[in-house]
Symmetry: C2
DNA sequence: TGGTACATGTAACATGTTACATGATTAG
DNA sequence: CTAATCATGTAACATGTTACATGTACCA
């Protein structure tokens, strides 16, 4: 068994492929929707990972369909690699927050500019929170429809988004006057 | 004026160089301390950025001292580039949180493993929160010593850390039983 | 005098970003 | 018929990670 060392991005693609064959396009779309908020990935990365996983036998390309659509199917090797990844991965999160750099170097930033940047970011986060809350409500609403039930795992990641955005907004609102101006 | 397009990492180094000449080693150390929690960077990156900024004339290498220490000084061009960066940069944060991937794919993760991973991460975050709170207390304590006063900008980034960790812990504690086990 | 921390740097590789090239299908 | 969307892929480059090679100065 030649161990193919999965990265988190490739692993996620395998995760999605557990639900059935998908094309690169499908995967880009679905990944951006379902993990894009806490694991960014781009279209070209997806195609790159697909081609290397295909070479390694973790997935198998099917016949090309209309518009050259090419569905990939996960193989047993792929399923094993995914399981192995789930079992091994324990990495910490990476946060890279340019705004905090601007704040840290605040003494070099014109007061006006600093205040504007803060306001702009605060608005972004308020919008993001609203989006998350909306999605969460929609999901919770599913509970009350007999045949459907929400995915508790997806719900947990959404709740993370809500908590995170709330914390960020809180932080904005408690910034001292020197920083947020006014 | 040939515009040298700074990235956030290089810009941060310039930011630190505003306080006086420093060597690569100094910069690695100081950067990890002061921005490492929200902007990771490695030793080899620092040397790489220094050498390209040196070529571009944003910084100037001084004489080698003991142990081959080579201090870099920011130039006027560098100061301008830094100011320009502060004025241009408005990027959003990137969060890459492997744990959330594991949670999202929870249906494929053995219950036991999922619960363990959650516990482990919760502990990490509890520790991190404690660290942040300690540093914050130390900083606040400075306020009561006549001659010294804490840097409000550094304090704000620390407060962000505290808020963030509190939110994460909160999230852990509200996870449903299906996910956190027990 | 020997280990640890200091200090510089490179090499090799993995990952991430941006832009482009090409074409098919569908909806208006 | 034509614009938008779907769909695949590559190229070029920027950034990030890990490991190694080399040597110095300090201090116990």
């Amino acid at each position: 068994m030649t161990e193919f060392k999965l990265n988190a991005t490739a692993a996620s693609l395998l995760g999605f492929l557990h639900d059935g064959p998908m094309t690169g396009w499908d995967l880009v779309t679905i990944a951006q929707e379902r993990i894009g908020d806490f694991w960014s990935l781009s279209q070209s990365q997806v195609y790159r990972e697909l081609s290397s996983m295909s070479v390694a036998g973790l997935i198998k390309a099917g016949e090309r369909g209309p518009r050259d659509r090419r569905p990939f199917t996960i193989t047993d090797v792929g399923r094993a690699a995914f399981a192995e990844w789930l079992n091994r991965e324990t990495g910490e999160e990476t946060i890279r927050f340019p705004l905090l750099l601007i704040v840290l170097f605040g003494q070099h930033v014109p007061k006006q500019r600093l205040a504007e940047v803060i306001i702009e970011h605060r608005e972004r986060h308020a919008r993001q929170l609203a989006d998350y809350e909306k999605s969460l409500e929609d999901m919770v609403a599913l509970e009350h429809i007999p045949t459907s039930q929400p995915d508790p795992y997806a719900m947990a990641t959404l709740r993370f988004g809500v908590k995170y955005e709330q914390a960020v907004l809180d932080w904005f609102d408690e910034l001292p006057e020197v920083i947020r101006g006014r």
